[in-house]
């Protein structure tokens, strides 16, 4: 199997989706630019033409509404937001419209729309160019939310999102774009709502999202070597629907639970996962659940502050140790 970059895996998925289904089109800021979205769209406009791969004015709500409307007319748009921060402008269309349309009209109409939002944090970009707002999306009925962490999943989840028939938020991180992994050439799906065990372990369950899966694995290796703590690392891949069973069965084994999500702590993804564990996995729990997240503060610019703002494997190691000590 070919080993390719995360960004190339997305490119491949888009290529194959555009090739296979004439109703698929790619729309959003930067999709025709060689650099704007990290090389993920390279070559697409040349191959599929300006009718099916096109850039838009910066009119996030209008463009999102247009993508929703096209989906209502049977198209399958992939709508890109080069940063989640810009998405607030489009919340009305995403939530009041895309997410509601199927339910509100009794299941008669559907919105087969993929909203691809890129987390682009760090690099001294500060508070308006760094946000991860998956928790808000997860809160909305009618939106599915996926967060791939490997090139394999990047491709397979994109295919699933585009062919799902519902509005699906596909959230990925620029920090993953250069990572490499095996990716089958043919088109395949990674099912929405199925998580995966990235590393088996018996002492503590660490559930991590997106880029933080890599940090969790790094932490697990270090903990195994230095502390003889055997960490099970779970990647839910899709946070809505969520593979609750996978979480609970791991917890049953380990009795300890740490959730890692690089977004604001209060009301974050970690809160929901902790709540699930504290209600449905209570009998397995041997220690307090723990969260690794961003502090409740906007992202600062100075890299000195960024270093303490963003959690790493070290932050995870510390939390796991606290949890296991108990």
């Amino acid at each position: 199997m070919a080993v390719i970059q995360f960004s190339q895996a997305i490119n491949q998925a888009l290529y194959q989706l555009l090739e296979k289904d004439p109703e698929v089109f790619l729309i959003g800021q930067g999709v025709t630019s060689p650099w704007y979205v990290g090389g993920t769209t390279l070559g697409l406009v040349d191959r599929f033409g300006a009718e099916r791969v096109f850039d838009t004015p910066v009119s996030e709500n209008g463009v999102t509404g247009a993508a929703v409307g096209a989906a209502l007319a049977g198209a399958k748009p992939v709508l890109v937001f080069p940063r989640l921060d810009f998405m607030y402008y489009a919340f009305d269309q995403l939530i009041n419209h895309a997410a509601n349309w199927h339910y509100m009209f009794g299941g008669q109409l559907s919105v087969p729309l993929t909203i691809w939002g890129i987390v682009n944090r760090g690099g001294e970009q500060a508070a308006q160019h760094a946000q991860s707002i998956q928790a808000m999306m997860m809160h909305v009925p009618g939106l599915k939310v996926v967060m791939p962490s490997t090139p394999y999943d990047a491709k397979g989840l994109m295919v699933s999102a585009v062919t799902d028939g519902n509005p699906v938020m596909y959230i990925d991180e620029r920090w993953l774009y250069q990572t490499k992994g095996e990716v089958p050439e043919e088109m395949y799906k990674v099912p929405l709502g199925k998580g995966v065990v990235r590393r088996e372990g018996s002492d503590v369950t660490v559930v991590a999202t997106s880029y933080m899966v890599l940090e969790a694995l790094k932490a697990a290796e270090a903990l195994a070597k230095e502390e003889h703590i055997d960490v099970e690392v779970i990647d839910p891949r899709s946070i809505k629907p969520l593979d609750k069973q996978l979480l609970l069965s791991s917890l049953k084994k380990t009795g300890r639970f740490v959730v890692v999500d690089a977004a604001w702590q209060t009301g974050g993804v970690g809160a929901e996962l902790s709540a699930i564990v504290a209600s449905e996995g209570f009998d397995y729990l041997k220690a307090p659940v723990a969260r690794v997240s961003l502090p409740d503060a906007p992202a600062p610019s100075s890299s000195v502050l960024e270093k303490v703002y963003y959690p790493t494997s070290k932050t995870i190691i510390k939390k796991v140790k606290e949890t296991v000590v108990r």
Binding site: F25, E51, R52, T56, P57, S59, N61, G62, V63, T64, G65, A66, A67, V68, G69, A70, A71, L72, A73, G74, A75, D92, Q93, N96, H97, W101, H102, Y103, M104, F105, G106, G107, Q108, L109, S110, P141, G142, K144, T163, D164, G165, N166
Partner: protein, 334 residues
């Protein structure tokens, strides 16, 4: 019924069109008067924004639309739904919150849909469905279809940034979408002059590279002719247009009352507009030109009245949605 109407429209003489316009306006009026009555009786519970007074707009525009053209609407959507050919029984059942409703009892008055006749839904967010209409037109245009999409909205929608973004995207890509503004002089309790720095809404069109018209929205023939021109042009790929229809809602913002008692507008103003009733106006013309006789009109009226009354009977005896379906259709099953 709808099929027949459609055929009629396509191959119809000017006289037939006039009669058809009259029937549609009257159907809306009678339906809305019934709705008002049922709201007053607490038979209908959901907030209903009545279309009485504005019938010429939906009617005149929809007369040139095909079934596979799309219409998107607002909180005030009964008239748009009916004019596009939506079923009366399903509409009334929706107002009653019944499972036989056009949105299965999930949407209520503000969220009607009838995909089979190209009525794709109404949003209760001001300006919310306008970009959707643009998007449907985008899909049509990408597929090189000769279909057209229509966004109905009020003067209030012109306050929202989304309206401008939609106008710009449509103008930029020359999409087959018609923006129909029903300027009824008020956005809830706010007169349009307290909302817009410049109340000549139609003039904004040219700053988005499209034609803008301001017309008498109570003259159904003028609406029909202007809309036909714009729709035909859009169908030929000549791009979008904005039609500002000056009109007036007789009732208050929501529900059957008149907003006079609340002091939100004057009785004189209302009376002036009632005198400009779009239906009376066409009726007079039809009588004068001998296209319909008084007794024919009587017959049409009672036929339509019966259909409306029947819809209320149908709605009332229809079952409610089953509680167990509450969580169905949050997502489409694949």
């Amino acid at each position: 019924m709808q099929k027949k109407a459609e055929k009629q429209r396509q191959s119809s003489s000017p006289q037939d069109i006039l009669k058809q316009l009259y029937r549609t306006m009257l159907r809306i009026r009678l339906f809305e008067e019934k709705t008002a009555e049922l709201v007053q009786k607490n038979e209908i519970l959901c907030p209903s924004h009545l279309y009485i007074g504005q019938e010429a707009v939906a009617t005149g525009v929809s007369a040139s639309l095909r079934k596979d053209d799309y219409v998107f609407s607002t909180h005030r959507s009964h008239g748009h739904y009916i004019a596009k050919g939506g079923d009366l029984n399903a509409l009334m059942a929706e107002l009653y919150g019944k499972v036989t409703g056009c949105s299965r009892g999930r949407g209520g008055s503000m969220h009607l849909s009838s995909p089979e006749v190209g009525f794709i839904g109404s949003s209760a967010i001001v300006a919310g469905s306008i970009p959707l209409a643009v998007g449907a037109a985008l899909a049509f245009s990408l597929r090189k279809q000769d279909r057209v999409s229509v966004a109905f909205f009020g003067d209030g929608a012109v306050n929202e940034g989304t309206w401008y973004e939609s106008m710009n995207i449509a103008g930029l890509r020359k999409l087959p979408v018609i923006f129909v503004c029903e300027n009824n002089l008020y956005s809830t309790h706010m007169p349009v002059s307290e909302c817009l720095a410049d109340t000549d809404i139609h003039r904004k069109a040219e700053t988005f590279g499209m034609s803008g018209y301001r017309i008498d929205g109570n003259n159904v023939i003028e609406v029909y002719e202007t809309a036909k021109k714009a729709i035909d042009a859009a169908r030929r790929g000549e791009g979008p247009a904005l039609i500002e229809c000056m009109t007036y809602r007789w009732r208050g913002h929501v529900g059957p009352n008149y907003d006079i008692e609340k002091g939100l507008r004057s009785k004189e103003e209302l009376d002036e507009w009632i005198a400009k009733c779009p239906i009376d106006r066409l009726e007079k013309q039809l009588l004068q030109q001998g296209l319909l006789t008084a007794s024919e009109i009587q017959r049409i009226r009672s036929e339509l009245k019966k259909a409306v009354d029947d819809s209320a009977v149908y709605a009332k005896k229809s079952p409610y949605p089953d509680e167990k379906t509450l969580l169905d259709n949050v997502f489409k099953e694949s």
